[in-house]
């Protein structure tokens, strides 16, 4: 009897209506982890986290004997301190790796589906463009947050475990909100930009190159603006034109670190929001067109 | 009529995998169909004919000469490939024009032939549009046109009908049959057997790298002994016919069907003769006589699934 004369059962199970986007995210993560380069980037990120862990551990060991030479050095020279600068520094460096992973994972997110003609097949199922857009976004944002916020929380926990006291607790809790905010400030625009490029351009390589070009453009703007502002005393607000500068500035403010440029928080925030909203609008527009033609 | 395409003990292997296994075949002018299941070595065989890969053993000759690195011979061959890779940034006309120029025509000749080819395939109005904007059927027509634009005596067409609508298909059948009638050698490879039948009687069947059968469909059928001929007869009084036919030598099975009967016989000639005689002599009423399995699909099934 030929195989196809056997039939299949009717489906009488439940239909899940909610969190369709989570299915997209889960699948994208599964696909992402098939690539070795992702493991490489994760290992490098891991080293960085490990390095910071050592930092916290060393500090705490040094501080166990407040009168030792090392402890005095730490207090005087402010080395190895577990303070805002540690977390800001950690997040700033981690951003490079997170950006690379987001770029790798996200530049093909939409365009590969289009190239493989999966869009018609996906949207012929009960999937709305909202689920699809959100699912893809959460993949990138999720990976980013896991590499930034989760290590920060782990470091804080470690610090509190090694030197438990009410002061330590109060101090460290104060760094949670800035860490989360700062992470979101650079993950969200980055993810939206990468997804917008992926939705606009036909190939993963072009999308990736486009995003890298945008980042370099931002750097170039930053250089030009710095020179102009310094040399010609122009309005410092121009620094906000470079989105990475604006994000860094907000980070400095969040962690109460000395600011490098004379911007206001409002200007910096406006810059980041404009970038995020613009990328988000392009992304949503293109994805919506996949499902709804007219 | 001498053979324009000849292959003698042609073999090709890739590592341990043998793609074409000792094929010896001759193709004459006219339309010939090339068919076979996926993986039978058709594509490799065509590549060797076009000089795109060298045989591992044996010889292949077009117009008596091996085609590999042979510009003189390859200039007389037109090829319409199966794959759909065209230069999207060009217009259809430009694509054919530049291929003509590559071939060696002067600008004026290339232009004229490109326009004529586009007209022949029905693309005269759209030939100056960009190929990115073409539908699948239009791209297919351009692919066919580029093969026709050359003064080719051998045309190798791999799945030429893909993407064409029924009218387009009818036009292509007529076009290819016309080319065959003109004396060109047209080798059409297709999976759609009734379309090959529509165009030609002569077929080349390949299977597992070798030549399974070659010749006219009906002749091949006549050579297949294991499967007796199956003739369906539609009539009002089948039982009378059963009586008549059971006495005919060679008949090995008679079966009543809803509208008449089915006869299985090893000697179709006698059986048909009895049927004809029956109508004449006894005035017996017959509505239809049909042979169920002398079409290409049936022959192919018998040969491949044996």
């Amino acid at each position: 009897m030929p195989v196809h004369r056997r039939t299949y059962r009717s489906y009488e199970g439940d239909i899940r209506r909610h969190f369709r986007w989570a299915i997209i995210t889960a699948q994208d993560l599964r696909v992402l982890f098939k690539f070795r380069i992702v493991y490489l980037l994760l290992i490098v990120a891991g080293f960085h986290i490990f390095f910071r862990v050592m930092h916290v551990v060393s500090y705490n060991i040094a501080m166990q004997d407040p009168n030792s030479v090392v402890a005095m050095l730490v207090r005087e020279a402010n080395l190895l301190a577990v303070d805002g600068a540690l977390f800001l520094g950690f997040l700033r460096i981690q951003w490079l790796l997170v950006f690379l992973i987001i770029l790798f994972a996200g530049s093909g997110a939409i365009c590969n589906d289009v190239r493989n003609n999966l869009i018609e097949v996906l949207f012929a199922k009960p999937l709305s463009w909202r689920d699809y857009a959100l699912g893809k976004f959460v993949t990138l944002a999720g990976v980013g947050l896991v590499l930034t916020v989760v290590p920060v929380l782990a470091l804080i926990l470690l610090h509190n475990l090694m030197a438990p006291s009410w002061d330590t607790f109060n101090e460290s809790v104060a760094w949670i909100w800035p860490s989360v905010a700062f992470s979101l400030l650079y993950i969200v625009p980055a993810a939206l930009t990468v997804l917008a490029a992926s939705a606009l351009l036909p190939q993963q390589n072009y999308a990736g190159a486009c995003v890298v070009a945008l980042v370099m453009l931002s750097g170039a703007i930053h250089q030009i603006v710095s020179t102009l502002v310094d040399a010609h005393h122009m309005w410092a607000g121009f620094h906000a034109l470079s989105v990475p500068t604006a994000i860094n500035h907000l980070g400095e403010r969040l962690f109460h670190e000395p600011v490098e440029y004379e911007l206001t928080a409002a200007q910096a925030l406006a810059s980041v929001l404009v970038a995020a909203v613009a990328a988000g609008a392009v992304y949503v527009w293109r994805v919506r067109r996949c499902e709804v033609l007219r | 009529m001498s053979a324009t395409i000849q292959a003698r003990e042609l073999s090709k292997w890739f590592g341990e995998v043998i793609a074409v296994n000792n094929m010896s075949v001759e193709v004459h002018p006219g339309v010939t169909g090339l068919l076979g299941p996926n993986g039978c070595g058709k594509t490799t065989f065509l590549k060797m004919l076009l000089g795109l890969c060298a045989p591992s053993k044996g010889e292949v000759a077009l117009f008596g000469e091996p085609p590999r690195h042979n510009r003189g011979v390859l200039r007389r061959v037109g090829y319409c490939p199966e794959t759909d890779d065209l230069f999207d940034a060009m217009t259809g006309y430009e694509f054919i024009y530049w291929l003509n120029r590559q071939w060696g025509m002067t600008g004026a000749a290339a232009d004229k032939r490109a326009r004529e080819a586009c007209e022949r395939v029905g693309m005269a109005e759209r030939m100056h549009g960009l190929m990115t904007q073409y539908s699948k059927g239009m791209r297919q027509r351009i692919k066919i046109a580029q093969a026709l634009a050359l003064p080719a005596e051998i045309l190798i067409m791999d799945e030429p009908m893909t993407g064409l609508d029924p009218q387009g298909r009818e036009e292509m059948f007529a076009l290819l049959q016309g080319l065959g009638a003109d004396g060109r050698t047209v080798l059409v490879s297709s999976h759609i057997l009734y379309e090959i039948e529509r165009m030609t009687d002569e077929v080349l069947m390949m299977y597992q790298g070798g030549l399974l059968a070659q010749g006219r469909v009906r002749e091949i059928r006549a050579l297949i002994d294991e499967h007796p001929h199956t003739i369906t007869v539609e009539c009002a009084n089948p039982r009378e016919w059963i009586n008549r036919l059971s006495a005919v030598p060679g008949v090995i099975g008679l079966e009543l069907t809803r509208s008449g009967l089915t006869v299985r016989t090893n000697d179709p000639n006698r059986c048909y003769q009895r049927l004809n005689d029956g109508v004449l002599e006894d005035g017996a009423d017959i509505q239809a006589i049909q042979c169920a399995d002398d079409n290409l699909q049936a022959v192919f099934d018998y040969l491949v699934k044996r």
Partner: protein, 315 residues
């Protein structure tokens, strides 16, 4: 969920017009499907893909109403898609994952839990005839397997209406027959309605009972295959054992000189029109006199291709 009254239980299009900008892709198309296997034919650019996309809810009709399973489209598109299966024309494959993995994903998107989706995925793959290949990455799949895979992903959620666009594309002769049988089986065993769009008219004739023909966005023909391919009056197809007799005279000449209008078709087949008053037996008499046997004799039916071209000519 309200049910439409009889007629159009599965699909109902009333006066549907779809525009792409200023271009009208579908003009005032109306037809109902309550079940069975319907073939959708038409030249390139006739609006077949637009029609399928409208049924899937990707297009909004500028005028008229589209109801799938009684649900208005595209408002209730998500709900309708739960029972729609779509086999697209172009290849669709996620190269880096295995067939099973991707099919499970499709099942989950259709609303099933992961376990259910995995089970049904395997069943669907068995049904379409994909064996151990299912565990390998999809980039290793041949065209035939990808085609079957597309069928599996359309069936995994047990749809009630299956939309197929050139399902036998790229399949070898055996694969094509299997695919057509598969479609007939699905329609029969699981009571699934089928809308099949193809340029291969004999395939459509083999699978479908009803034909809908579109041309330039309009519905030009809607009838059963039986009606469209009705036998012609007094016309017969005849083939003889020998093309010409011993004297070299073709049978066609003999027929024509006896007053029978005769047209040669491919492969030695003659299409003969009997004059008034003549019976078909006369053909056998003439064949015998001519010295040959009649080997093929049947009332000439309009082929679907002819019916199609006639419909095109008329519109």
């Amino acid at each position: 969920m309200t049910q439409q009254a009889a007629g159009g239980d599965i699909l109902r299009l009333q006066d549907v017009t779809v525009r792409y900008g200023a271009f009208e892709a579908l003009s005032r198309v109306s037809f109902d499907v309550s079940g069975g296997r319907v073939g959708l034919l038409g030249p390139n650019g006739a609006g077949k893909s637009t029609l399928i996309r409208t049924i899937l809810g990707f297009n909004r009709a500028a005028r008229g109403a589209v109801r799938v399973f009684g649900l208005p489209m595209p408002q209730k598109a998500l709900e309708a898609r739960r029972r729609l299966g779509y086999v697209p024309e172009r290849e669709a494959a996620a190269h880096t994952v295995s067939g099973v993995s991707f099919l499970t994903y499709m099942g989950q998107i259709a609303g099933m839990s992961r376990v259910d989706a995995m089970e049904r995925g395997h069943e669907a793959l068995n049904f379409v005839g994909i064996g151990d290949q299912r565990y390998r990455r999809m980039e290793t799949y041949s065209t035939g397997m990808l085609q079957r895979f597309k069928m599996a992903q359309a069936l995994i959620h047990d749809p009630k209406l299956l939309l197929l666009d050139e399902p036998s594309n790229g399949l070898d002769p055996e694969g094509r027959m299997e695919m057509l049988e598969l479609i007939r089986d699905v329609a029969r065993l699981r009571n699934v309605s089928v809308l099949l769009s193809s340029h291969l008219l004999p395939d459509v004739q083999h699978v479908c009972e009803r034909i809908v023909i579109l041309n330039k966005g309009r519905l030009v023909q809607d009838g059963s295959v039986e009606e469209l391919t009705a036998p012609r009056e007094r016309q017969y197809e005849v083939r003889t054992r020998d093309h010409a007799n011993a004297a070299g005279i073709p049978f066609q000449e003999t027929l024509e000189s006896a007053g029978f209008a005769c047209r040669a078709e491919r492969d030695g087949l003659l299409r003969v029109t009997l004059p008034e008053g003549e019976s078909p037996q006369r053909l056998f008499v003439l064949a015998s006199e001519h010295g040959t046997q009649i080997r093929h004799f049947a009332p000439a039916r309009t082929s679907l291709a002819e019916a199609f071209l006639q419909a095109m000519g008329a519109s």
